[in-house]
Amino acid sequence: MDQILVQTLHGLVNGMVLAMVASGLTLIFGIMDIVNFAHGDLLMLGAFVGASVLGVTGNYWLALLGAALVIAALGAVLQVTTLRPLIGRDPLTTILATFGISLVIQKYALWQWGPSVRRISEPVPGDFTLFHLQYPWYRIATAVLAGLILGGLWLFLKYGKYGIWIRATTQDRVMAQAMGIPVPLVYTAVFAIGSAMAAASGVLFGPFAGVTQTMGFDFTLRAFIVVVVGGMGNLGGSILASIFVSLLESYAAIVVSPAQAVIVSFVVLVLTMLFRPTGLFVPTPK
């Protein structure tokens, strides 16, 4: 019973971080039909930048902000140089291009930071006792912070002027252009925002298990899964799906090893694609 409670907490915390990763991916997909294979690698790069900033300044919040800004700039550059020329081509070519980018980023990180695991120290010290187990506060803080960032993103999309531009472009890019919204600029901005979300979640995840240059693919795959389960391009759906899938994986980890628990989310994905390809957490389309 205790174990179930701890795993529930674990699943919720992991789900919040995953929701941040997925929100960037789903935002990019929703507006540009781009499946960003490099998303997890941008996350990894953000975590490394964050670790470096932390090493220099010793301030966790500066690390979070610095990583987000650096990766946002990188995302903007990537979008302009490689993805903008591909607009109007088969969406599959963007998968291939972002896959190429992911290879480059991964090896660049290996070259720059080496193969060893980097630690990001916990921003909030201390544990609290949950029944008989110690549970660290920073995990709770991370989940809350992820929730705040997601809430901020949601408010921005809902009420901000540029958020409304983004939603307008998602709905109908031709009409948006006709209304005077600079669509190419919106594309670049959204890619930058998505990249920044990835980088921030990388820094948030850093204290959990350390930062390695191979962590990206795992996140890309998991983000894909929850984005499809939640409904492609649907922000709220992705967040719910992240928590749902993470909880399932946590519970599965009680029975089997964590490495095998991943299969649970694969199965959820396949079942979703077969029976509800528009996503689990969206109303049935007419």
Partner: protein
């Protein structure tokens, strides 16, 4: 790229067969003149090319991008390993059979689910399925050897009971060449058959193909199965060459490389994937001499540039002639 002039309808085919004969001739002579390292390299290109060609059936001819070919390749390897480790004495034919059964079975399983989905959803689902196989193989240590994989001896060459002989690098190259040639001609014949025409029509316009009355899903399942079988065959050959099966080859990176081979060489040409594999492996060899494992940085950049500026691939301009 325009239509062939009507006055010489046979000439593309003649040119094609002359080119074909020249390339085959070069490949036959290759092990006799190349130093041992490059000899092995040539064999490896043929095997990777076969894997990439199997993927071309889906990418180039049916319009479905598979990111899961590592699963079929890996299961071919492990299937061959199973036959070589359990059956005494090791038998070449049985190893091929086991490998094909394993890969084909996996392909049918994946195809049953994945072919109901289209475009990126198909790509993601094949990726996810290949990761399922990876996790199973990686964690089921008692049977698959887990992270360390399995090692075994090379089987002896025995064709139709005509005695048996140890493989030398040269005879192994010829053996691989023969298998690859037969596979290539078979796949070429398949893509030109009415079945292959239906696949291409699915690529061009799926709703219309369905409206004409073809059972699109069934065609797709068969296409994935065929593709998986040839990928498995490549896995078997690779297992023979290296005498081991390792989970690394089931990992998604291999699937990614297969897609790269196709894009670099030219999708929908069958020969292109071989050229792409050769181009990629040669670049890797050259770059890793002075960049070690960072060769992927320039290679990745070249790949992205090719996607933007050369979407047809190296041999894309020959597409019409190669399918003549």
């Amino acid at each position: 790229m325009t239509a062939m002039p009507a006055a010489r309808p046979r000439s593309p085919a003649v040119g094609y067969w002359i080119g074909f004969a020249v390339v085959v001739g070069l490949l036959v002579v290759a092990p006799l003149v190349l130093p041992p390292f490059w000899q092995r390299f040539a064999t490896e290109i043929l095997i990777w090319g076969l894997l990439a060609m199997s993927s071309d059936i889906l990418i180039g001819y049916t319009g479905m991008v598979s990111f899961g070919h590592s699963a079929f390749f890996g299961l071919g390897m492990y299937g061959a390993a199973a036959a070589l480790l359990t059956v005494k004495p090791p038998s070449l034919g049985l190893a091929v059979l086991y490998g094909l059964v394993a890969a084909g079975g996996a392909a049918v399983f994946v195809a049953y689910f994945a072919t109901r989905l289209r475009d990126i959803y198909f790509a993601i689902s094949t990726l996810v399925f290949s990761q399922i196989f990876y996790v199973i193989i990686f964690t089921w240590t008692e049977v698959t050897g887990g992270e360390n994989g399995l090692t075994f001896g090379q089987p002896r060459l025995s064709l139709l009971g005509l005695g048996s002989d140890r493989f030398t690098p040269t005879t192994f190259h010829w053996f691989v060449l023969a298998v690859v040639l037969i596979s290539y001609l078979l796949v070429r014949r398949i893509t030109q058959s009415p079945f292959g025409q239906v696949l291409q029509s699915i690529r061009e316009n799926e709703p219309r193909t369905r409206a004409i009355g073809y059972h699109v899903e069934r065609y797709k399942i068969v296409a994935v199965m065929l593709s998986g079988l040839f990928a498995g065959l490549a896995g078997v050959l690779y297992a023979f060459q290296n005498k081991f099966a390792a989970p690394d080859f089931v990992f998604f990176v291999v699937s990614g490389e297969v897609v790269i081979f196709n894009v670099m060489g030219g999708m929908g040409t069958l020969v292109g994937p071989f050229a792409g594999a050769a181009f990629f492996l040669l670049l890797r060899e050259g770059l890793s001499r002075f960049l070690t494992e960072y060769y992927l940085i320039p290679l990745g950049i070249i790949f992205v540039i090719m996607i933007i500026f050369l979407p047809q691939g190296l041999l894309g301009f020959l597409r019409r002639r190669l399918n003549a």
